[in-house]
């Protein structure tokens, strides 16, 4: 670079700096505000989980726990089935995510090929299912008929492929993996299989991370599948068990809970109170692993994952 060009760069760098500075200030302020808005309620959840239920209802729990009590955690951990369901969920999520990523990415790859014949048909085939379905009863009957009812497989497999994720993955492959790579490989005599496994997959670390998070969280949070398709309580995933622990907290519109006015109403009222705290404890208990999973996935979102591919 000549001296004048260098000066020009330096000058323009100075100009850029000022508006960039403003940008950075705005950005910093923005994030401080956002972080407060997010952290405070999360903090509230944690302190509420060790507070007295009545104090919570009366709004006394604001900056610190009130009436420290571990009744909520006690109630949650006393459930014998909790530990086992925790283990179940970890296994289900792990198995399911691996299957999901594999199947989704394969299909996304196929759909991303410009010359794929029948693409419109397959697209419609998939997208149709996003809108139309038989409903709970026929799905239930189908699962029963093919023998998936009351097996771990129904949890692992149901919901393991999402059209939404498939389409997003397809877009990723289309935009992030240049077609020139494909053409180069084809000239070198590669097949779709080898191109996919040798080139696409390694370059898709980012989208794989995204899929891992989205599928993983969805599977981890799912309580409904276990509720409907499992009979054996040993197979129950975490959220189904947690939901039972929380069952008293569905906002009771009919007052039915009072209808059986037995002698031990007081114990029932007390149990309801404990449940008020337990719901906070449950969040703490259930959310831990997913936050860890995500923190682990962070490195795949770094910039420059693509570097090196173009030069090949």
């Amino acid at each position: 670079m000549s001296a004048s060009a260098g000066m020009a760069v330096r000058k323009s760098k100075k100009r850029i700096s000022k508006s960039d500075q403003v940008f950075h200030i705005v950005n910093t302020v923005l994030w401080i505000v956002i972080m407060f808005m997010i952290l405070y309620p999360l903090y509230l959840v944690i302190i509420a989980s060790v507070s007295d239920p009545d104090a919570i209802i009366r709004g006394e729990v604001v900056w610190h726990p009130v009436g420290i009590s571990f009744r909520g955690y006690e109630a949650v951990f006393k459930y014998r089935e909790l530990l086992r369901s925790y283990g179940n969920s970890i296994m289900y999520t792990f198995a399911s995510v691996i299957i999901s990523i594999f199947v989704t990415l394969l299909a996304a790859y196929v759909l991303s090929r410009p010359k794929f014949k029948g693409k419109a048909l397959f697209n419609l085939f998939f997208i149709f299912t996003m809108f139309f379905g038989g409903g709970l009863i026929p799905t239930f009957l189908t699962m029963r008929d093919i023998g998936l009812y009351n097996t771990p497989w129904v949890i692992v497999l149901m919901g393991s492929v999402s059209v939404w994720n498939m389409m997003v993955a397809r877009t990723f492959i289309q935009t992030s993996i240049p077609h020139s790579l494909y053409e180069a490989s084809m000239i070198d005599g590669a097949s779709h299989f080898s191109y996919f496994f040798k080139i696409v997959l390694p370059l898709s670390k980012t989208i794989i991370a995204v899929l891992a998070v989205y599928y993983g969280v969805s599977k981890w949070n799912d309580y409904f599948t276990g509720l409907v398709y499992l009979r054996d309580r040993n197979l129950y995933p975490l959220q189904t068990i947690l939901r039972e622990i929380l069952a008293t907290l569905q906002v009771d519109k009919s007052g039915d809970y009072m209808m059986s006015m037995m002698d031990n109403v007081e114990s029932m009222v007390e149990a309801t109170k404990v449940a008020q705290v337990a719901k906070y404890c449950i969040i703490v208990v259930a959310t831990g692993p997913v936050v860890i999973l995500y923190a682990f996935m962070q490195k795949y979102f770094e910039k420059g994952v693509m570097i090196g591919s173009l030069k090949g």
Partner: protein, 554 residues
């Protein structure tokens, strides 16, 4: 061209899956009578046993065990959401029952929250349990019993033969408490569940005596005086904490169970509870929200609202929140079930007392009748055995062991015989996991029976006293609204009604909120009344009236 072939392919795919779906009907194998046409053989109540000949032989009509060769019955049991129970097979009372009767029981415990889903899936799948026990959850007997014939009629010919204990207790009452179990086709499809309490209504009124004493007020005799008392509570520092205006004179919620606005309507002559129709003294079905008393109540509450005599969170708070406030004690007046054993011992139970409103008040009258407790499905091959099993569950010691826990237990559960030989509960506070079924078991204790056997705890006596007071003061409605629940409607009518009811409920709730916060004008009232024409309310009332006219009311 491409689009057309696309459509053709899709149509073919749909057709193929529809045809594939034809295979997936309720399984024929597990319950032979699922196909509907085979049902009559089970529904024929006069046949004993049915099915295999061996089941008729494997049966002792009296004495124990009930069966000579052990059998297993599948039971689908609904429990309350709050209940945390061990597996029934580990409950001592159940184990004793199994030994005694020779019948092994396989339990499927389902919480109230999930009950509807699971019940409907169960019926859809064609895989029925032998017995459904659901005193605290509902089974639509019109739909599943009368219309679809998946439940067996359990009429007196069967129950008098196989359930002596049950029959005896029913007969001991002045009037048969099980008339409430009769469906629209005249059959009973369930065995009754009843915990007699000698009550005649749900909620009573309570006023804060402490506050009145502190301010030197006398018990108000009518609504106008009541309003003045509220004002005094608020303005004159009734709770004596040096801070006037932090009292809540009227503690109710819009839609919070027994603490709801609906329970204020009796003071205006309307025996309402939240189902918005009632029976007036002339046996006519009336639509509560359009009555004059309703308008007056709304105006009265609006006055309370503008003068800040109501809890500010009134519109949104739920029953749990109200109870929390009552526990704290900051309430001048409220409706509730009772004071004792509600967790309010340091709150309103200490300071409040029953309030008896003026004449002209009309409280909703409840008639104590059995609830539908247990059903037998068409796939049950051991009907007499099952009935005898249910009867065995009702034997006094067994029944109380299932309900409270073990006899003479030392862990804060259970029951014992007191010095007069009556059953006395030992239940203390809350136990985390119960090894008994609690109120989910098939308890059958009508009034007379319970009186003779059970030592009433003080909170029950308290409640009965309140009921007597209101009855003696002539504040109860003449004909109970319960007759509306008993009215023989067909399944079609019920389904049509349930849609209308959903609309009504929402409309009333929403407009009540508006009336209370904004007040009532002639225009807004007229608009409110005419709104219900669009909801076919007159049809709704007529259906009930026609059904009611066929009944005898007492």
């Amino acid at each position: 061209m491409k689009k057309k072939s696309l459509a053709v392919v899709l149509a073919a795919a749909m057709a193929a899956s529809v045809m594939a779906g034809c295979q997936s009907s309720p399984s024929q194998s597990s319950s032979g009578s699922a196909g509907g046409s085979a049902a009559p053989s089970k529904a024929d109540s006069s046949s004993t046993g049915g099915g295999s000949a061996s089941s008729a032989e494997n049966f002792n009509e009296t004495g124990f065990p009930i069966v000579n060769e052990p059998i297993t019955l599948k039971i689908m049991q609904g429990i309350r959401d709050v209940d945390s129970l061990t597996a029934p097979s580990e409950m001592p009372a159940i184990q004793r029952l199994e030994e005694q009767t020779g019948i092994k029981m396989e339990w499927d415990m389902i919480k109230g929250n999930d009950w509807n889903t699971k019940l409907n899936l169960m019926f859809a799948s064609g895989d029925y349990p032998d017995l459904i026990v659901s005193p605290n959850t509902t089974v639509d007997q019109e739909e599943y019993g009368v219309t679809q014939k998946l439940l067996i009629p359990l009429n007196d010919d069967l129950t008098s033969k196989y359930m002596p204990t049950y029959t005896e207790r029913r007969a001991a009452e002045d009037s048969d408490p099980c008339v409430s179990l009769i469906a629209s086709d005249g059959n009973k499809y369930s065995v009754g569940y009843m915990v007699g309490q000698y009550i005649n209504t749900d909620a009573h009124y309570f006023i804060n005596q402490d506050w009145m004493t502190r301010l030197g007020l006398t018990m108000p005799k009518n609504k106008a005086e009541l309003l003045d008392v509220f004002r005094a509570f608020k303005a004159q520092d009734a709770d004596g904490d040096g801070n006037p205006n932090n009292e809540v004179p009227l503690e109710i919620g819009l839609d919070s169970s027994y603490y709801s606005v609906a329970y204020m309507l009796p003071m205006f002559g309307l025996p309402a509870t939240g189902k918005w129709i009632h029976i007036d003294d002339n046996k006519q079905v009336q639509f509560t929200p359009v009555q004059q008393g309703f308008r007056e109540c709304m105006e009265w509450l609006h006055t309370c609202y503008t003068e800040e005599l109501l809890d500010p969170e009134m519109i949104s708070q739920d029953a749990n929140t109200v109870e929390s406030k009552l526990k704290e004690g900051n309430a001048g007046f409220f409706p509730a079930w009772r004071l004792k054993a509600m967790g309010w011992d340091d709150g309103v139970a200490k300071t409040c007392t029953l309030y008896t409103p003026e004449a002209g008040t009309s409280f909703y009258r409840t008639i104590e009748m059995a609830r539908k407790g247990a059903f037998i499905t068409v796939s049950n091959q051991y009907v007499p055995q099952t009935l005898r099993l249910l009867d065995a569950m009702m034997e006094t010691e067994t029944m109380y062991s299932l309900y409270y826990g073990e006899k003479d237990a030392t862990d804060g559960t259970g029951w014992k015989y007191n010095d007069q030989g009556k059953v006395q509960t030992l239940m203390m506070g809350d136990i985390d996991v119960k090894n008994f079924l609690d109120c989910n078991c098939l308890f059958f204790g009508p009034g007379k029976y319970i009186d003779s056997v059970f030592d009433w705890p003080e909170q029950r006596i308290e409640k009965t006293q309140y009921c007597h007071i209101y009855e003696d003061a002539g504040l109860m409605q003449k004909y109970s609204n319960n007759y509306l629940d008993l009215a023989p409607l067909t399944s079609e009518q019920r389904q049509a009604n349930s849609l209308i009811e959903t609309d009504i409920k929402n409309a009333v709730k929403e407009k009540m909120a508006a009336f209370i916060t904004e007040g009532v004008t002639d225009d807004s009232w007229n608009a409110f009344v005419s709104m219900f024409d669009g909801m076919r309310v007159s049809e709704y009332i007529a259906t009930y009236q026609a059904a009611l006219d066929t009944m005898t009311l007492e």
